[in-house]
Amino acid sequence: MAETLDITGAVCPVPLVHNQQIVLGHGSGGKMAADLIAKTFLPAFDNPALRAGDDGAVVDISTGRIVLSTDSHVVAPLFFPGGDIGHLAVCGTVNDVAVMGATPLYLTVGFILEEGLELSALERVTASMKASAAEAGVQIVTGDTKVVQRGKADGLYISTTGVGILPDGRKIGGAQAKPGDVVLLSGTMGDHGIAVLAARGELGFETDVRSDCAPLNGLIADLLAACPDVHVLRDPTRGGVATTLNEIAKQSGVCITLEEKSLPVKPAVASVCEMLGFDPLYVANEGKVLVILPAESAEKALETLKKSKYGADSIKIGTVSAAPAKRVLMRTAIGATRVVDMLAGEMLPRIC
């Protein structure tokens, strides 16, 4: 046994302050979690309902019906030209509520954070969500955070749920398309899908394509004020315009015929698609809306859509008829007709 015990060098180990990276403790529900809420989430999303700090948010609503929609976002990379996962998480859910004809008011948000995520990345995402929510005029009123072990997630996943108010008498939905209607699209196809693909850096070439990710509730509100007779609104996200129109054709029991010549695609998107063997009709959009309404209202609708910065390239792309029911057809540029089917599984680049 030692004669003396030298204890002058020993100190009580103070835990490290984890203010650079997410660690499991941030999801513990304890002090670190509270800190994350106080320093990161509250400043970004600040509003009375959130500030109350209760288990749920209490919000005021006017009379009418409520529209609810939920979406989970798992995009890689988290940041891409034209947007990021936060912008996407707000716009995606705002748009899903808006295309029901409702006015989106509130969002809830769930974060799944991977251990090791840079806090600065999370802060960039929350700042982006703040800006998107402000533009869309919605409040993020309640949320949740979980942290999973490194390797169990891809940096950051975000789930959002949106609440909106649907005015009495408004009936917009995928089953409302009628023979004689026309199909409008609020701009070019495939910008988001190609921007994200390019941002992954796997293509071996660079493009200047930017994601079209945008909140469309303003544009949709203006459209519905000008043209209350809109039958269908839908945002053609994953699966693209072709898949969304197939869903509508089936729901409404109608035939939708597209004009190949009028389908809007940016030259850069068209080039990437040519090289990889993709069809822009199947590539994702995050800031476009398909509008189906009676032919006599088409001109007014286009005029209204074009006034918005998100609808400047709006164009009529097709018509609705009774038969063959539940089909989407295309008049090709050279005058033949073919079927436009849904996307089967994952879109794969072809061999040569």
């Binding site: 040519e274 090709t332 540029a333 073919r338 089917d341 599984g345 794969l348 072809r350 061999i351």
Partner: protein
Amino acid sequence: MEFTTPFRDADLVRGVLAEIRRTVTRPWVLMEICGGQTHSIVRHGLDQLLPPEIELVHGPGCPVCVTPLEQIDRALAIAARPEVIFTSYGDMLRVPGSDRDLFSIRASGGDVRVVYSPLDAVKIAQENPSKQVVFFAIGFETTAPPNVMAVLQAKALGLENFSVLVSHVRVPPAIHAILGSPSNRVQGFLLAGHVCSIMGYWEYPELAEKYRVPMVVTGFEPLDLVNGILATVRLLEAGKVEVANGYTRLVTFEGNKSAQKIINQVFMECDRPWRGIGVIPMSGWSLRPEFDAFNAEKRFDVADIAPKESLLCIAGQIMQGQKKPHDCPAFGRECTPEHPLGATMVSSEGACAAYYKYGR
């Protein structure tokens, strides 16, 4: 896009179609050899606008479709190994093997990655020295230069953890097999423009002479295709047998000689089974013995693979031009792009997938 737009000009295409109608006097059966051409024809609806005298049958030129089942089963067995990163062109992932596909290997924990170029697979091998990186080198002559380049580069880098599972096929022996078949109906060929951009078309005059069948090197855009059809019909109507070049902006008689040189340096001709068709003598390319170190079939023990093909699938007859996809009782019923029974329903170049997708 400015490179393709003029070749999709509707007025020009309609003009050539009118000329085809004026030229044709009796029925002709033409085969477009390449799956890319099949897709373009059906996607743009060219087949609907041709005069009824002209029947297009679809050739075996889809590299994904003709990759033999045993080779896919080998790929699946290799990809399932824990030490392997298996890399492939995208559209191979959904091709069914005897009981699974590469997607299900990935879902069960296999490391299966889509690459856009085989050189990306070499890079993955450099970055993962503790893993065995395998590239599924399939395709016709078109993909041979990048595939052999990957082997040459891996050799130059001294990589010991890179190998290729080769299933290469060549067009001329397939044409020979089709024209030599007693049930052959094909009277004229649209040759595959991209294959000829590598190989030239010096291999074809002998075939054309032997079987008295005209051939026209043809591209993939609507205007290329109708021009190729018009040129073939003109030759047929005039009773001429020759090999013409309708894709001069990309193809020369000799082809790309540097590409041919490296192909011959790495590959040698071999007998190759074609899925649904059977073995076509000397129709494939395999690695020369001096590249054994990069041969995945030698590196992994995958010799005793006994494939089980679906009994319903008639892909072989379709790829020989004897039947159309809708002649198959399983088409659109048991066999769809979501649940393919054969590879012709999977690949973006497969005839069945084209018919299904574009509603024929």
